[in-house]
Symmetry: C2
């Protein structure tokens, strides 16, 4: 039996996914949040995800253990590769790209949706202020949705599974404005690829750079705790 009120939300603990969780709850969905322990160097984000799920009012939060480190190839999962600074990189796909990560994450969300009877999956990808990852583009999300409807029991039974990516066409500043209107406390989110042990952001990586620009564009205070060298 499917339940149209249930939604599976991919929750990283970051600014974007906190916003989609708040928006999905605001739309009336009962939200089941999914995070991944995938060998990321920034796995402090899982503690942020757990707290966000609770504060924003999700029904449940699960963390799936998956092994993406087994393949290497990304600075986010391979400690021998260095995370580049914001604006330091070329125009091509950066080294922080984790191969097929959103495909893998959405596949797991699809599996849980099948078991829950949910027909709606939410992902916080963004095609405006993003890092040039191929799996953050609208055409990828559409193709995944088409595939998902052929992959699963509900699809075979003629029900329509929908992949929601409500931030796809928003700038970082617009995302922040939207989340603030929904009551998101962005001090409880984390974007940095290389947080230190007390949870302070490096202020230098691509993800910190986009986040800083976003708060500036939204015209609001950036509540992020940055490491000392960047707070002067």
């Amino acid at each position: 039996m499917s339940d149209p009120r249930k939604g599976v939300v991919l929750l990283s603990g970051g600014l974007d996914s906190a916003t989609i969780l708040a928006a999905a709850i605001d739309e009336g969905f009962d939200c089941y949040c999914l995070s991944f322990e995938y060998g990321q160097r920034h796995n402090t984000e899982l503690a942020f995800a757990r707290r966000l799920a609770s504060r924003l009012g999700a029904i449940e939060h699960r963390v799936a253990q998956i092994d993406l480190k087994v393949f290497g190839g990304s600075a986010l999962t391979d400690k021998n590769l260095q995370v580049p600074d914001f604006n330091e990189q070329s125009g091509s796909i950066p080294i922080t790209y984790v191969p097929a990560r959103n495909t893998v994450f959405l596949s797991f969300a699809l599996a849980w949706a099948e078991v829950l009877g949910a027909l709606d999956v939410f992902i916080g990808v963004n095609a405006v202020d993003y890092s040039g990852y191929p799996d953050c583009r609208p055409e990828f999300i559409q193709a995944f949705e088409s595939m998902a409807n052929l992959a699963t029991r509900r699809g075979v039974e003629g029900q329509k599974l929908e992949i929601h990516a409500p931030l796809l066409q928003l700038s970082k500043g617009e995302i922040i404005s939207k989340g603030l209107a929904l009551g998101v406390d962005y001090a409880e989110t984390v974007s940095c690829y290389q947080l230190d042990t007390v949870g302070a952001a490096c202020g230098r990586c691509d993800s910190c750079g986009l986040r800083r620009e976003g708060f500036a564009a939204a015209g609001v205070n950036d509540p992020t705790l940055y490491q000392a060298a960047d707070r002067d």
Copy 2:
């Protein structure tokens, strides 16, 4: 850099995937085999996969640890659910279906292909003598391939990633005949969902039933070791 000789092969240790590995090697591919420890009750199959990769001449074999048990919902990953006997089930999707399993497996294969620079992924799904799983159908494979070409670095760069499912339209008997011609020793493969501790097959589950019928249809001896009750 992509390398057109490299192929990623999803290898379960079963009859179908052993056949596609032999066929891909016969076509000249350097094969990188991928298996999963996903909480399956029949994880003896991983030892079979390791041996098959070595015997058939794969370049490498990796086992990715992933957590599909976290969602439950299948008799293959939930020990509280019973595996039904062959022909015991209704015409609908059986309880041994693991939600979105092939989507998850292909997503991981895609990740490894990206890192390796491979443009070819092989999967042993079969739409003739199969168990009615939605993710074993040709339209699913095609949709996954379309999505994969939008999800990845190679796709963005204009290279074409191909999902090969060469058994899609073959009967189990035809698969066995094909494999025998390629030198596959099917005594080294396992199909059973509930092997006992010495590696003998139950002879009763859906997967054993399809395997037995396949050897009969191919007109060759079935080399499978079945449990005593079924050998009389």
